[in-house]
Amino acid sequence: MRSVVSYALIAIVGGFVGATVSKGDDLYQRVVSHFSSAPADPDGFWSTPAVDGYGKIHYEPDAAFKPVVGLSNKVVFQITRSEGEMTRPNLGLERVARVVNLYIASGVPADDLHFVVSVTGDATPAMLDNAHFQQFYQADNPNLALIGALNKLGVKVSVCDQSVAFHHFPRAWIDPSVIHALSSPTTVSTLENQGYALLQM
């Protein structure tokens, strides 16, 4: 009798362990598939047609609400944050580059874009010239090449002088490619009063 009970117990325990192990494999697979890369995009899926190397887009020619020639195409972008590493370009600036790429991919010529970027708050250090950025972050300012590329397309980049003052940066520490504005709110209101659309980055 005793041996029967033991066999039964062993069988139950064995079954339980077996079930857990097979379940474990299922779990393992789920975890693995979660972390492994998504299906690969074909070559040419992403592109940066106007701002080379920044703000990659996937362009769909038949998408709705595309930018069109004939609008004022006045846009003011406000960037207030600094996300991620300082050794990478500011994500807000990358998003501006993405919008520029999308407008130009949609067929609006760069000459027709009236784009102004207003940088303020935590994003202000990204506007430092290289020497002073080096001093604070021991690295070259990764935003300057992007600002240069935007400027070349006629996109103006401005900084909030109030934020510059709150950061205790002398005005001369801001890179010469950046326009000084009284403040970001007055930049946005002045431009909105002239018919610009506000995009909060």
Binding site: V116, Q162, H168, I179, A181, S183, T186, N193, Q194
Partner: protein, 145 residues
């Protein structure tokens, strides 16, 4: 038993000692955060239109300047829906409205040309209570009035 307690005491003492040594460093870090290390000259900040609120550092510039841009309506609606910091201090959103007003005025736009409307909602609503009700709720005068 004895040696074990010695070890425990020694370990504790070492831990305390280590922390005490770290302390000046910690205090420095904390005070650095709060001290205004770089002292600006007395007239660096000003509040030309709304005295005592929304301090600005005014340096005139030509670009995106409401005073040098002709034909502006100067119509602005400010939406304040948050309540940050100490309720005994003026709402930070209202301070920012004061800052913008100071900037427009400093730039040279006459105050009677500003068409500014502040819209307060959500978490910022208690700031609009009358003084009596504000006192009942927070035990202090309403600093926003």
């Amino acid at each position: 038993m004895r040696p074990a307690s010695y070890i425990v005491i020694a370990a504790l003492a070492g831990f305390v000692g280590g922390n005490v040594l770290q302390l000046p460093d910690l205090v420095d870090k904390v005070s650095d955060k709060f001290a205004d290390k770089k002292s600006e000259p007395a007239d660096f900040w000003s509040t030309p239109a709304i005295e005592g609120y929304g301090k600005i550092h005014f340096v005139n510039v030509p670009d995106y300047n409401p005073a040098t841009t002709p034909g502006l309506s100067n119509k602005i609606v400010f939406q304040i829906n948050r309540n940050e910091g100490d309720v005994r201090q003026p709402n930070l959103g209202l301070e920012r409205v004061a800052r913008v007003t100071n900037l427009y005025y400093a730039a040279g736009v006459p105050l009677d040309q500003l068409k500014f409307v502040v819209s307060i909602n959500s978490d910022a609503v208690p700031a609009a209570l009358n003084n009596e009700q504000f006192r009942k709720t927070y035990g202090t005068d309403n600093p926003n009035l």
